[in-house]
């Protein structure tokens, strides 16, 4: 057992959490390569995979097996299946990047055949791509791949929605599923799938944010004119409530209810801003599930969402300035109240005191 593991076990024991004396079934982890080696191997393998795929394309073309959109689709599906196998049986950064390149190439081939089949650009033309992304998201457990397919799933699904209500339902469902996955991390961990939760959650949330922001600026091609007035953004509020409830597990009932009210108020305040609620879910997930990077990304998205307020033409800059000043004073007053309330709670006020 490593020195760190012994120290961590001691801290858990000091907190009254006893670890069962069970024979570990996990194989001893090999020490990971330094980050720069992993990066180098990953870049090298990705570029190498592109060359191998070009080779494959040349070979198939010479055999007349890759000369139409339909054959591109068939080859693409074959490559996707191959990547599933690669991820399942190969290990290492280089193998993962190789499999990623194969998967991307396969998805591109499939997309070519779908585009050829549905030339009208109708909503239905995106459904096969959504289906493929959903399958790959379920079957391939690699963190980076799951993040990318989750994001693609959110974006392609949004592109397939023509009615604002359908779009709102799609995003609300995705954010809710993401929040539910993160809330059930312990359940997944007990089944040996704990490491898959983070990428699954982050991919879906990042995809929703990536889809909402261009939608707000009416950048999606072929979509109906939509903006904050047309879309019921508040359908995403249940996800915020779910993640808040899960984050306060073990706390007294009064605390949980207070947290729910705070989460509801915070979500509702900016419900019409692009990416606001998914970013809040991401921020809370980052803080409560020990992912500081998520909280940083969420903070940047929240700042961007607020900056969009600058361009709203409904009210003047002076009115906006006054509202923001009032909100700022209210936040500072609330901060003072929270500090006073926290100081009156019994128990150690810092980790150092607890030790």
């Amino acid at each position: 057992m490593s020195t760190n593991a012994m120290a961590w076990e001691a801290r858990l024991a000091a907190a009254g959490i006893a670890l069962a004396d069970v024979e570990s079934t996990a194989s001893a982890a090999t020490p990971a390569n330094p980050w720069y080696l992993r990066l180098m191997a990953g870049i090298g393998a990705f570029i190498g995979a592109i060359m191998v795929l070009l080779l494959l394309g040349l070979g198939l073309s010479s055999l007349r097996l890759f000369d139409s959109a339909q054959s591109a689709g068939a080859v693409g599906l074959f490559l996707c299946v191959s990547s599933i196998g690669m991820y399942a049986f190969w290990r290492g950064v280089a193998a993962e990047q190789f499999a990623l390149a194969v998967s991307i190439a396969g998805q591109a081939g499939f997309a070519i055949s779908v585009a050829d089949l549905f030339r009208s650009g109708a909503s239905i033309s995106w459904w096969p791509l959504v289906g493929l992304q959903a399958l790959l998201w379920l079957l391939i457990g690699n963190g980076l791949h799951r993040t990318l397919t989750g994001a693609a799933l959110a974006v392609f699904g949004a592109l397939s929605c023509r009615a604002p209500a359908a779009l709102a339902a799609w995003w609300a469902a995705l954010v809710l599923v993401a929040a539910a996955i993160l809330a059930a991390e312990a359940w997944f961990a007990a089944r040996g799938r704990g490491h898959a939760v983070g990428p699954a959650f982050f991919g879906l949330i990042a995809g929703v944010i990536a889809a909402q922001i261009p939608w707000f600026f009416k950048l999606w091609p072929g979509s109906p004119a939509a903006g904050p007035e047309a879309l019921p953004w508040a359908t995403q509020v249940p996800a915020m409530l779910l993640i808040t409830w899960a984050a306060t597990a073990g706390a007294p009932a009064a605390t949980r209810v207070g947290a729910l009210l705070l989460g509801f108020a915070t979500a509702s305040l900016g419900a019409w801003l692009p990416g606001w609620i998914p970013a809040l879910v991401l921020a809370l997930g980052g803080l409560a599930w020990a992912r500081p990077g998520w909280a940083v990304v969420a903070a940047l998205v929240l700042i961007f969402s607020v900056s969009v307020y600058y361009y709203s033409l409904a009210i003047t800059l002076l009115d906006k300035a006054a509202r923001m000043a009032l909100a700022g004073v209210a936040c500072i007053a609330l901060a003072a109240v929270v500090q006073q309330v926290g100081a009156r709670w019994p128990g150690p006020h810092s980790q150092r005191e607890a030790q």
Binding site: V22, A41, G48, G194, C331, V338
Partner: protein
């Protein structure tokens, strides 16, 4: 390893999930275990996080409100009012940084704000008084003005901003300078900026490596490493086309000087990262760049890439070189760890 350092988050989190998977830790204890290991705040920690977030949000909203109010009235403000606002903010930032001191987060943040406000003030000056000066002069003057602050602050973030400003000024200078200057007659206009970037950043690397301790930039050498990375990128940008699809021997004689300068810079970078400082991350970057250049030369020699045999050999060459480099670097890393 510090128990509360951000770099340990991933290891502690992974270890906890493994304990749940192994059955040593109950799924219901996972949340409490995260608190015990300092991964997430406890009850009081949450109050501190919420309080700090509300305070930071309140301050940001007040600052944004001030900006919005100024923006609303900007057209009505006279020249002196505009300058007074910016200069007032600049003076307040400098005084605040001096009061809080260079070692505190608040002091360093205010110093960064002062550095950025200097650029904004110069931009306002250029916008208000249309002197017809070249754009590069703003960045050059900006870099000169903030240099004393960077020397005093001794904070890598300030130096990195200075590095960006200096390089942007250099790029604009190269872009706008006429073709009769001696430098361009020597090095040619096509890749002139890259050659100038090699010279500037190379000098900075030498200066920072020699004076690093006196500047108290910390043991991580972030600033000289970023400058060296800039040298590497510029050298690669010259060598890659000059040795492959746009060969220097088919161009004017100035191409030869560029290749000579870039080649020398590349060789010095390799020597410094391998034999000098044994900086493995930068050595990995240098190795990958070298493999890329070598691959481009190889492709030029063996012929067009749309032939099956050529592609097969190229793929094997690339994969073989990268694999060999990874094995070599892994050995160096293991040797460095054991010493």
């Amino acid at each position: 390893m510090s128990q509360s350092s951000l770099s340990g988050y991933s290891e502690r989190r992974t270890w906890l999930l493994d304990q749940v998977a192994n059955g040593r830790l109950g799924a219901g204890d996972l949340a409490g275990a995260r608190v015990a290991l300092g991964l997430v705040p406890g009850r009081h920690g949450w109050m501190r996080v919420i309080g700090a977030t509300l305070l930071a949000t309140g301050i940001a909203l007040l600052a944004a409100a001030a900006i919005f109010a100024v923006a609303f009235n900007w057209d009505r403000l006279g020249h002196f009012s505009r300058f007074a606002i910016l200069e007032g903010l600049l003076v307040a930032s400098v005084l605040g940084a001096w009061w809080r001191g260079a070692g505190s987060v608040a002091g360093e943040s205010l110093m960064i704000a002062a550095v950025l406000l200097t650029g904004a003030l110069l931009a306002l000056f250029g916008q208000t008084y249309q002197t017809g000066a070249d754009p590069y002069s703003l960045f050059v003057v900006w870099a000169v003005l903030i240099l004393p602050w960077c020397l005093h602050a001794r904070w890598p973030a300030a130096w990195l901003i200075w590095l960006v400003v200096a390089n942007v000024g250099l790029a604009l200078f190269c872009h706008g300078m006429g073709g009769d200057a001696f430098f361009w007659r020597l090095f040619g206009r096509h890749e002139a900026w890259f050659a100038a970037a090699i010279a500037l950043n190379g000098l900075l690397v030498v200066a920072f490596e020699l004076m690093g301790e006196r500047l108290d930039l910390g043991g991580r050498r972030i600033v000289p490493r970023v400058a060296l990375l800039a040298v590497l990128l510029a050298a690669t940008a010259i060598l890659l086309p000059a040795l492959s699809y746009r060969p220097f021997w088919a161009r004017d004689w100035q191409g030869g000087w560029q290749v000579l300068l870039a080649g020398a810079a590349f060789a010095l970078t390799l020597w410094w990262t391998y034999l000098g400082k044994r900086d493995l991350p930068l050595l990995a970057a240098t190795t990958l760049a070298g493999i890329g250049i070598g691959f481009a030369v190889f492709m030029r020699i063996i012929g067009p890439a749309n032939e099956f045999g050529v592609l097969l050999i190229s793929a094997a060459y690339w994969i073989g070189l990268v694999s060999a480099a990874v094995v070599w670097l892994r050995g160096l890393a293991a040797t460095k760890e054991s010493t």
